[in-house]
């Protein structure tokens, strides 16, 4: 069986509990996406509770988009707790590079060795100190321009780095995968990127205990998102109805259908 198919089957079978510390804009869509893909969401931000919960959940997402200082206090505690309890955690460095508080925090969090980092090209460059970080959540850099930086980051930190764009780039120290699919409407629905970070966490939380690979788990999340985007774009041509069709597709697509809808290439 294809590794992507195996990961997505495992998500449906094990329903990983994903602890999210995420920004104020996307909690609802993130939770709905996690439910649609077969995972269970739990947003828990209070430092005292987050530290406990990160050790119990299947995986943790830390998204640095617009958060409170209380959430910022919870993040290092939760990341350390996840690591201590051998749970994978994912860093989504929203607008890192462009804004100082979150840039410092992102670099501090990186020392806790996330299982994966997911961002747009400007954010990945910003995390590595090589870009001003785009305009808020928008990237001003192209995906392929972040390739060398992503490789360096993956090697140095020992993580999988995913760079999202029209073609997604998933980079480990010894492997680079490109996922092609999706729709131009996806960036017009807020939270598609942020909920991809959460779905990466879900795939890791399901895959690793089943002996599946970390890199494959990250690829599987991106393949699922792109496939659902491709399907939704056949049904809807504006962002309101696209959003609904896309969540329906995330729920309905079988792992085999996902693999048939996107192009996944190692190089």
């Amino acid at each position: 069986m294809n590794q992507v198919t195996a990961v997505l089957n495992e998500v449906r079978a094990s329903s990983p509990l994903v602890h999210c510390i995420t920004n104020t804009v996307v909690p609802e869509i993130t939770a709905n996406v996690l439910l649609a893909v077969g995972a269970a969401p739990a947003m828990i931000d209070l430092p005292e509770e987050a530290e406990i919960f990160a050790g119990v959940a299947s995986a943790l997402l830390i998204n640095l988009g617009n958060g409170s200082s209380e959430q910022h206090r919870a993040m290092p505690l939760a990341a350390a707790s996840a690591v201590a309890h051998d749970r994978p955690w994912v860093l989504d460095p929203v607008a890192v590079g462009a804004l100082p508080v979150r840039t410092r925090l992102a670099r501090e969090l990186l020392e806790q060795t996330p299982a994966a980092v997911r961002g747009n090209p400007s954010e990945i460059l910003g995390l590595a100190g090589e870009s001003a970080g785009g305009r808020g959540v928008d990237s001003t850099d192209a995906v392929e321009d972040a390739l060398a930086t992503a490789r360096g980051l993956a090697s140095r930190v020992g993580t999988v780095v995913a760079v999202s764009g029209p073609v997604d780039l998933i980079v480990s120290a010894d492997r680079t995968t490109r996922v092609t699919g999706g729709s131009d409407l996806m960036p017009l629905v807020i939270g598609t990127g942020c909920s991809l970070g959460a779905t990466v966490a879900a795939c890791l939380g399901a895959a690793l205990p089943a002996g599946l690979g970390r890199h494959d788990a990250v690829v599987a999340a991106h393949a699922l998102f792109a496939a659902a985007g491709t399907v939704a774009a056949r049904q809807a041509s504006a962002p309101g109805s696209f959003r609904t069709a896309w969540i329906d597709a995330l729920y309905r697509l079988t792992p085999d259908e996902v693999v048939g809808l996107v192009t996944i290439r190692d190089a």
Copy 2:
């Protein structure tokens, strides 16, 4: 006229103003649901403002899902203000039992005598100290397993306890009602449970000033939600489109249609 019909008519007629202190994931769907059922939502979290507003609104919802410490400071002030001004308030003990900060807070709040408590089985058991509280917002216990605990809680606190599940259980000291209806897709849309707590508050805020019963008000909210779920499931088979159809149904269903779509049994 059926008591459920009377309550739902009263919600449409009086448009109760529902003050919600709720978690970071569900404010938007909660507000949209309150508007759809004929109530008026107001989320007010600052301690100083919440204390004032809880004395003015028709009813108050306190939902213990992911909240900030600032919201936690507002909750006891708002509950006390609601009680002092003779306004019903509803406690939704999300993930209580599983997490320490909110468990302590829930038990402290219980002393302010909520008019109703609504949760899933694990949360009701957790509130009573009899369960570890499930996985985040997911219940790991069955509805009927919480029956004796719900009865004890209802008697001891002098409240109505609603236990949500495939069959909802509404329990007062001297009465037990089961509501059957809805759809398996409801738990796949985040906030259907949390907005049910808000709708319980809306029904109480409309029913009590009109001389209708507290138990009937809680039953009416559950009947409306289940009926809308039943209707939405006829129109949609995936959670994105189900969510839209369900909100439309909450808006469109007449009280008589609600009563015709669900089974309500006292026993």
Copy 3:
């Protein structure tokens, strides 16, 4: 070319980056609306980051609906930074007049000379100290009752005051415009008013650098919202599906279609 058409074309052409400090209920719909109309949203609330970002973004929205005390600390810093960097900012005085903390804050912020103020009639009266401010976000006053107050406020502060309702009133010191259109379903979708404030900011952020007028920019935002409401009401008759159709219409409508769908009258 019509001035409204010119403003809306400029929004699509320049994709203004809109910094929003807004309430806990509406960030997602606000971001989706900004994306649909062609702008780029960025919610940034931390005081240190908000101060920096307000000087970089095309425009700033400050919405006083349910916010944390941390957001309240950020608001004056962001407004001052916007003014210092010659960026337009918009004040949305949600529930001002009805609640004390935000009423004090709104009057303090008014000294930073917003380019526009947008609210319902009760909020505009409340901001001027002439009303108790309605029921939460609901207005208890009629639009035309706020006309004289809006004129006084516009003159005294040197701003454009928009009063939203079935007929929108846009008032500058020397000009009054009425926009007619939309649908009764709009107030049943939470965030349509709050995202109008954000779209006013987007129109100002696009119009002013292009040499277009401030009053016209505010009119254009209201015309676009009303036109999309008119279109959506032809497709949907309940708030769940209306919301989807309305966001689709915001995305699809050309500036010429907008002008054809609403009535805009100066008087």
